[in-house]
């Protein structure tokens, strides 16, 4: 296996966040990377960054609800923000969208699935990047 590289600055930043917010744990996962910092038990087990042993009764981020107005992914796949590579994005932050308007595309098993806006509103945030994989239930963007 490849040599593990640890982003020290990121660890320090999250450690400070724990202090500032009074949280006991922060877990963060993107693509193949996952980091979990915890100030709960003195000897919290961390075998490797990617192989975190189960800690009792600490629900991961995935089990918490998405923010209000979030549009979540209805499937696993690859997310595209425009209809062709390099093309104009379907929506940008600040755009007004109408209900049913295509806001992005998710490719799954070589099929392009247009994702419609569930409600009319203003795009407050785009939570995904073009060409990046998305999981089921992952927040794609926020409209309100």
């Amino acid at each position: 296996m490849a040599k593990l590289e640890v982003d020290e600055a990121l660890v320090r930043k999250l450690a400070q966040l724990l202090t500032e917010t009074g949280l006991t744990e922060i877990e963060y996962e993107t693509g193949e990377q996952r980091i979990r910092v915890n100030r709960h038990a003195a000897a919290a087990p961390v075998a490797a960054a990617a192989a975190t042993a189960p800690a009792a009764a600490t629900p991961s981020a995935a089990s918490e609800g998405p923010p209000a107005g979030a549009v979540t992914s209805p499937m696993v796949g690859t997310c595209y923000l425009s209809s062709e590579p390099g093309g104009a994005p379907f929506v940008k932050v600040g755009d007004r969208v109408s209900k049913g308007q295509t806001i992005l595309i998710i490719e799954a098993m070589k099929v392009m699935n247009p994702i419609p806006a569930p409600t009319a509103g203003t795009v407050r945030e785009i939570a995904v990047e073009d060409g990046r994989p998305v999981e089921y239930g992952e927040t794609l963007l926020v409209i309100n």
Binding site: T52, A53, P54, A62, T78, M109, E138
Partner: protein
Amino acid sequence: MFEKVLIANRGEIALRIHRACREMGIRTVAVHSTADADAMHVRLADEAVCIGPPPSRQSYLNVPAILSAATIAGADAIHPGIGFLSENAEFAAMVEEHGFAFIGPEPAHIRLMGDKVAAKDAARSLGIPVVPGSDGAIADDVEAMDLADRIGYPVLVKAAAGGGGKGMKVAQARGEMAEALALARAEAKANFGNDAVYLEKYLSHPRHIEIQILADAHGNVVHLGERDCSLQRRHQKLLEEAPSPALNASQRRQIGELATGAMRRLGYRSAGTIEFLYQDGEFYFIEMNTRLQVEHPVSEMITGIDLVREQIRVATGAPLDFRQEDVTFTGHAIECRINAENPVTFAPSPGRITDYHAPGGLGVRVDSALYSGYKVPPNYDSLIAKLVVHGNTRNECLMRLRRTLEEFVIGGVETSIPLHRRLVTAADFINGDYDIRWLEKFVQPQS
């Protein structure tokens, strides 16, 4: 060797597969429903992908989602585990079409053994004994009686269109045949609108004995002996042991050679299990499972062979690195299936695990994805832990099993542990004197 394997399953078997991968230096991708975001295999895997909401149809049975997850994670191979898509020939074919290795048999063999009639025909043509009987509906009483004389009494008259025990009559001797045929035909007519019946040898006290097969893509086939899975309730196995208290070494070798010969002729690859009914020294084919079985650990415990590792190895195209003569059988192993259910009513008992403490020590193996604080979701199978115990003799194994059942603590949900504690003190079980109907009587509430 594979770099990265996607585990298309959940619970203890997903953890089992993860462990085998880790021990081979293979990275793992867990796929999970939203209900399993906190599952142990998800936490331990190198990567995790949420593939859908809790219902299995939308997650663990969702083929496009699983294949998309494999694509975006860049997996080389998919292990289907047990249940879910593990015996779905179309899934296996699609996995291969999408360029992933399927850790299991060829789709054609999954398909063949998935069709009960075709499987029985295949077994017969491969030289595996099946329950003797009429090949189809019988024409008249004379044909029926002639056939019954040939296969030997008692015989079972069964409605051809039947099910659920309706239109089924046992004839203990020739003198009872006319009445059995008449009654079965009448019930068949009344229940299914069709009075066609067929004959089968009636097994009054069979055991469920199955042979573990392991085969590579180069024609090498070995067996890891048998498992006795006669302790069943409503066709759900509760406790399995190996070797069977009913077989001796020569019977073991005989049925093992028969099974490996048949699989060699079939060209079977990967792990598989041939299930038999066994009575009075004779084996009768029931079905073949073209996948890993829940009870595979008992075979691992007496042979020292890691079945999941071997499944993965042969899926890469590697040949088995041992032959039948290298497989040795040491001691005795028993597995208790621990379910989250009431031990008397068998009502499911999902919920949060408040205490979890597995037994330890010599000869003890626990396969479980539970941990203190884990919430057993209500959406899936109730199997939450497998307690597997090995001893040099069956008696040592039983004593160890009793000791470990005393030590096992699972709080917060009801479990079958109290039933297992009761079972291991039952004289018939201790004597190995049980058949496939024994447990149903044992679990009946005392009146």
